[in-house]
């Protein structure tokens, strides 16, 4: 056997082994397939699939709000009659104060399995688990429609305003919260939340931006502030939109 043939045989052998190892190695499932979230009186055991944008805080990193443009593609909450719910939404909060403002779209919670409604909810800083308020709009949102949710305080005066729009038009102020809220925040989160004892079914797409600057303008979640990351509970998945930044993602449950 010539040297050339031996080399060719070795190359073939190593190629075959490599290909076989890669080809026959099973791909480990990325997520547990079992929904492990539930509702209880003791703690919050809700499940989330999120893009989280945690900043270091003012004056270095803080923002005046954010926007989420959300498309819910599918929704079914089988346990809706017992209080199970699913949301696709945006949260604005802070590492240093306990209050928050949130807005998005919700299904379940005693209303119906599959109809989607816009909502807003908030808890003031002094609340620490109390003085929670929530508004749910009786009208429904259709699947595959893009709806915008803006939460912002452009005047730095501690009044956090909630705006709703559709396809970037039809804007109106859905609410304003001004009691005991900070005038800036450093934590934005957006995605899916499920409080359900029975596995719900939901998928959606979101485009996100934060607000800062003078004049205030939109900034993608990933850029000047670079600590955006994904967070997933069991049986929920979130993935970055191909070729885009981390704030633009799609999520679903089950995975």
């Amino acid at each position: 056997m010539t040297i050339c043939k031996r080399i060719a045989l070795c190359v073939l052998l190593s190629s075959a082994l490599t290909a076989m190892i890669i080809g026959f190695t099973p791909v480990a499932p990325a997520k547990a397939a079992t929904w492990k979230c539930y509702r209880s009186a003791e703690e919050n055991h809700h499940c989330y699939a999120l893009t989280e944008w945690d900043m270091v805080g003012c004056p270095k990193e803080c923002i005046q709000g954010g926007v989420a443009n959300i498309v819910t593609e599918s929704m079914d909450v089988p346990g809706w009659e017992s209080g199970d719910f699913v949301t696709n939404e945006l949260w604005v909060s802070s590492h240093t104060w306990p209050g928050w403002v949130e807005s998005g779209q919700i299904a379940g919670d005693g209303m119906s399995c599959c109809e989607i409604h816009r909502f807003e909810a908030a808890e003031p800083n002094y609340g620490k688990g109390k003085d929670f308020t929530m508004y749910i709009q009786p009208g429904t949102v259709k699947l595959k429609e893009a709806h915008d949710y803006v939460i912002q305080d452009l005047e730095y005066n501690g009044i956090w305003r909630v705006y709703w729009g559709q396809e970037n038009t039809d804007w109106y102020e859905a609410g304003a919260y001004n009691h005991e809220y900070s005038s800036s925040n450093d934590e934005l989160e957006a995605g899916l939340e499920g409080g359900a004892n029975t596995q719900p079914y939901n998928s959606g797409v979101q485009a996100l931006a934060g607000v800062w600057g003078e004049p205030p303008s939109w900034h993608p979640w990933e850029g000047a502030y670079s600590k955006a990351k994904f967070s997933e509970s069991p049986a929920t998945c979130i993935e970055q939109w191909p070729g885009s930044w981390i704030g633009n993602a799609f999520y679903h449950t089950p995975c």
């Binding site: 809700h46 919670d109 003085d131 912002q152 452009l154 559709q166 109106y172 939109w218």
Partner: protein, 194 residues
């Protein structure tokens, strides 16, 4: 000679099989990743300031007109008990109800939590008739969304605003202060009393 050819044949088959398996797995992963069907939504073309400026004049675009008969007080009580149970309080005490316009009831909720900002939900079904139920107990709202890592809201007083015709749960309050529903009009005791 035959053995060498046999060995090379096996290696070739193994290589081809491995490559095929790898390709199938990559294709499968791609199919999963692209399972969403909607195009990526875009962030608003208007600036944050422009949205704030135009939004004040815009009406809601999916308001539901009220029609049909109003709920009976018995139906109101059943819905209130359902939401009390969701809030882990199956036996609420001192349940009372008043009826009024939604906007007045929502503003009462905001007043109860000390929110005095102008423009709060002036547009949200303002003129719709609604029931405002107030009840007492030990409530934990595990059926509402909260930011990740936060505890579910708790309180001893729960307020529930229900559409007078459909019973739709438009508004909710949970805290320790009893909203003054007497300011809305006549109050009816639905169950339990101190």
């Amino acid at each position: 000679m035959f053995q060498k050819r046999y060995l090379r044949g096996l290696l070739l088959i193994g290589a081809v099989a491995g490559i095929v398996m790898t390709s199938l797995q990559i294709a499968g992963a791609s199919a999963t990743s692209s399972s969403n069907t909607s195009p990526l939504p875009t962030i608003p073309s208007q600036s944050p300031s422009e949205i704030q400026a135009v939004a004040k004049e815009m009406p809601p675009n999916n308001e539901v007109p009220q029609s049909g008969p109003e709920l009976s007080l018995s139906q109101v009580q059943q819905i209130a008990l359902k939401y009390a149970k969701f809030a882990n309080e199956p036996n609420p005490d001192d349940m009372k109800v008043a009826q009024g316009l939604f906007v007045n009831e929502w503003n009462l909720v905001q007043k109860t939590v000390g929110n005095t900002s102008s423009g709060v939900s002036n547009e949200l079904g303002a003129a719709n008739s609604a029931f405002f139920v107030v009840m007492h107990g030990s409530f934990t709202l595990s059926d509402v969304p909260v930011p990740p890592g936060r505890k579910s809201p708790t309180g001893t007083v729960m307020g529930l605003i229900l559409d007078a015709h459909t019973g739709f749960p438009e508004g909710r309050y949970l805290g320790t202060t009893t909203p003054n529903i007497e300011s809305l009009g006549s109050v009816v005791q639905l169950g339990g009393s101190h």
